[in-house]
Symmetry: C2
Subunit: 489 residues, 2 copies
Amino acid sequence: MTIQSVNPRTNEKFGPVIPETTSIELDEIITLSQTSLQIWSTRSPSFRANCLHSIANALEENIEELVKISDLETGLGEIRLTGEIGRTAFQIREFANAIQAGDLIAPLVDSAVELPVPQGHPQFVRTLVPIGIVAVFGASNFPFAFSVLGGDTSSALAAGCSVIVKAHPAHPQTSLRTYEIANKAMVDAGAPKGTLALVHGVESGQMLLRDERVQAGAFTGSKHGGRALFDISTARKNPIPFYGELGSVNPVIVLRSSIADPKVFACAYLDSLLMGNGQFCTNPSVMFIPKDSALSAEIETQIIDRVPSPFLSQATKTLHDKNREDLRVLISPKILSGQGKEGAGFYSAPMIFLSTVEHLLANISALTIECFGPTGLILTYTSISEVIDLVMKMDGALVGSLFGDSDDADAMVAGRALAGKVGRVAWNAWPTGVAVTAGQHHGGPYPASTAPLHTSVGLSAITRFLRPVTFQSLPPVLLNQVAMNLAKS
Amino acid sequence: MTIQSVNPRTNEKFGPVIPETTSIELDEIITLSQTSLQIWSTRSPSFRANCLHSIANALEENIEELVKISDLETGLGEIRLTGEIGRTAFQIREFANAIQAGDLIAPLVDSAVELPVPQGHPQFVRTLVPIGIVAVFGASNFPFAFSVLGGDTSSALAAGCSVIVKAHPAHPQTSLRTYEIANKAMVDAGAPKGTLALVHGVESGQMLLRDERVQAGAFTGSKHGGRALFDISTARKNPIPFYGELGSVNPVIVLRSSIADPKVFACAYLDSLLMGNGQFCTNPSVMFIPKDSALSAEIETQIIDRVPSPFLSQATKTLHDKNREDLRVLISPKILSGQGKEGAGFYSAPMIFLSTVEHLLANISALTIECFGPTGLILTYTSISEVIDLVMKMDGALVGSLFGDSDDADAMVAGRALAGKVGRVAWNAWPTGVAVTAGQHHGGPYPASTAPLHTSVGLSAITRFLRPVTFQSLPPVLLNQVAMNLAKS
C-alpha cells in the first residue's frame, strides 16, 4: 500500500508516492526508539529543553516551505497555516520552558516521621519518570499543532519519552518534511537518533500500538478511528494509557440577556462555525437561542453570502456529508444554506439546521452526531430548564460557551449544567480558539476524551507521560544517581 | 444467590444469610446515589471533611465489635485487625485534612495576557470537579483499609463523589456492619442519604460498573477479577477510568554488600513473607541473593519452625495452591518447607522455592505467577547484570526492595532497573508496610495498576476522582456560584 498527496481544491494527486511502513521497518524503528529512550529519558530537563528550542527554531526557519506544501495538501490557506506554525513553535517552547522551570516535574520530598504507625513513616521522595515510548497519531485538521510536531509529540518529548508518530494520510509530505526538519534539529542538538520517528499507514499505526514496548498512545481525530485505537490499547495483554480526543458536539447557550446587536452576533457565530470550513473539534456545534430571538432571521440572511472552503480530504467530506444527511433525516429541520461550489474539489455548502429544544428532547440521539465541517445546529428554547434538560442528556464535550449578563439568574444554572458536561466553559466567547497556557483544559468526559483527567493542550499535557516512582529511604547520593527528572541543570 | 460468612480456621459457615443485590435494588441504589451526588458534590470541602471525621470516629467507637466479627470472617487475628482499623481511621482523617487544607483541590488561576496570539489569552481558572458516582470493589485481604471504608472509598468521598461499594464475599458481615456504622455517622453529620451505598454479589458488581451513571471504578484484588472489571469499564459505550490494582510479583535484590548477619536477615525475610499468611500485594515475592550467600541455608533452617496462618477463604487457598503447583512444575526448584496444619481450616504449609536466575531466564513466564500466600521464590545470581536482565523481563510491580551499601557500585544499576519496573523502590527495607502519606506511591506499570499514573494509597489518591474544568473569562461572582471545590469553608 502507498500514500500520495491529494489537492483538496482540485482532487488531483501530486508529489511522491510514499510507501506504508512495513512490519520489519516498524520493528527496527521501535528497537531504535527503545535504545534512544534509555539515553533521552536520562538526559537533564535542560538538555531536553534545549533540543525542543532547536526544533522550534528549525520549524520557523523552514516556514515558507512548510506553508507551501501544507497548503497544497490541506487547502487551509497560507494565513492560517503561517499562524499555526507560529503557534506550534510557541507550544514547543512553552513545554521546553516548563520542564526547565521544573515545577511540573518537581519531586515531592516527604520527610521521615518518627512516630508509631500509622502516623510514623520513613522518608519518601516521589519522582516522575518518563512512561516510555509514546505512539502519537497525527490529526488531519491541524497539520502542525496536532500532527508530527503537535502538542502530543512535544509534551511527550519534554517529559523524556521517545516518540513514534503515525502520520495522517491527508498530509504525508507535510508530515515527512516536518519530521526531517525536527529530526535534524534534534540530532544536531545532541539527542540520540531515533528519539523521534515517523511511520505511515493505518496498519503500521495499529501494529505500533499493539507492540508491548510502546507504553502510551495519544490521538486526536474521529470517534470511529479513536475508539478503534483505544480498544487496541485496552485489549493488550498489558494495557497502556491512551489519550484520545475523539470529537465533540459542543453546546453554546445564548441567554435572553445576551444579544445587544443580533447582526454582529450572527456574524461572529458564522465566523466561528465556518472558520477552517468548520473542521475544529471546538466548533459551536449546537447553539441554543431564545424562541423569540431575532438571531435566526439574521443568520438566515447572512449565511446566503457565505462561501465554502475545501474539506481536508475526500474522506472528511464524505463523513461530514453522511452525518449531515443522517441528522437532517432524523430531525427534519428548517435548513438555512450558504453557497455551494462547482468542480472536482472537496466542497459542501455551509448549512444550518434550525429546530427546537422540545423536538430534540424527543430525538436525543441526534446530538451524538458530530458534523465535522460547515454545519451548525440551532435550537430555540422557551425556558432555560428545557435547555438544561437537553444538555444533561448530551455526551461529554470539550467546551461549552455561555453568552449572557453575569446578573442573569439563568447564567448560574446554565453554567453549572455546562460544567457537568464539558472540559472548558467559555463566558461570552466562542468555543473555537484554544490557548496554550497553564490553565487550559482541552478534554472532557467521553467522547471528548478517553482520559477525562487529562488535557492535550496546555502545560499539564506533559504530565500524561510521566509515571510516579517513590523512593523510600534512598541515600541522597544514590537518589541522585537513580532518580530521573530530579535536577534542573 | 446468597452469601454467608465462613470461618477460615474451621471451614464452618456462620451468621446471617445475606441475599445478593437484585437488579431492581441496584437501580434504586444508583438513582439515590445520583441524587446524593448533586448535593454532596456541591458541599464545601470543610463540610465533607467533617463528615469524614465523623466516620473515622464511629469506626473507632465500634472497634471491639468490628474486630470480633472480622476476625471470625478473615482469621487475620485481633492484633492485626485492631491495627488495621486504626490505620483506616487515620487514612480517612488524612483525606479529610487534605481537602480542608485545600492544596490538592486548589484552582489554578491563569490571568489574562494582553498580547497577540499565541502568547495572549483570556483569563482561565482551572478547577477540579468530582468525577461522579464511583464504584468501589472491596478487597479480601484488608477488610477495613481496602474495603467498604478503605482508601478508594474515603478518597472518592473526599473528592466529592458518591460511592457505591461492592462488598467482598469473604467478609460480608464486616462489610455490612462497617457500612451501617459509616452511613449512620455520615447522615448524622448532615450528608445526604445514599452518598455511600453497599451492594452484594458478583453480578451486581458487574451491572454497577456497566451502568452509564457510574463514572469511575476502583478495585484491589486478583489479576483475573480485576482484568474482567477493567474490560467492562473500557468496553462500555462511554468508557470510564478504572483504577485497578491487580496484584504484583515484587522483586527484592540483595546486593553482596548487604548482609551483616544472615540469621537476622533470614528471620526478617520470613517475617515479611509470611505476615498475614503472605496475603499482601507487597509481598517479597522473588528475592535475588548472591550465589555464595549463607542466606539460603539460614532460611532453610528457620522455615522449619514456621507455622501457617489461615487463608482468607477457600477461594484464596485454592488459587494459591494451584499457582504454587504451576510454579513448582515449571521450574523444578529445591523446596524449603515450614509446618503444615491438620483439620478442615484453610491452611497450607509455608514454602520457599530455591532456584537460579540463570534457570529463570529460560523460564521467564514463571515470574508472571503470583503465589498470593505463604510462598516465596529465592533466586541465586552470579552477577548483578544477570539480575537486571531478569528484572527487565518481569511485569510491572508495586514495589521493589534493594538491600546494600550506598557505595556499592551495583546499587545504582539495580536501583535504576527497579525504578523502571515498579511504583516504589525501598532501600534496606522490606516491601510490606505501606504508609499513608503525601509521598507514597502504591501503583506501577500493569498489572500492578491499570492506571500507572495514579496511586491507591496516600493523599494523591484523591486526584483520581477529580476531573479538571477550566472556566474562561467567567466573572468572579458567577465563578463562585458555578465552580466546585473553590472555597475552603
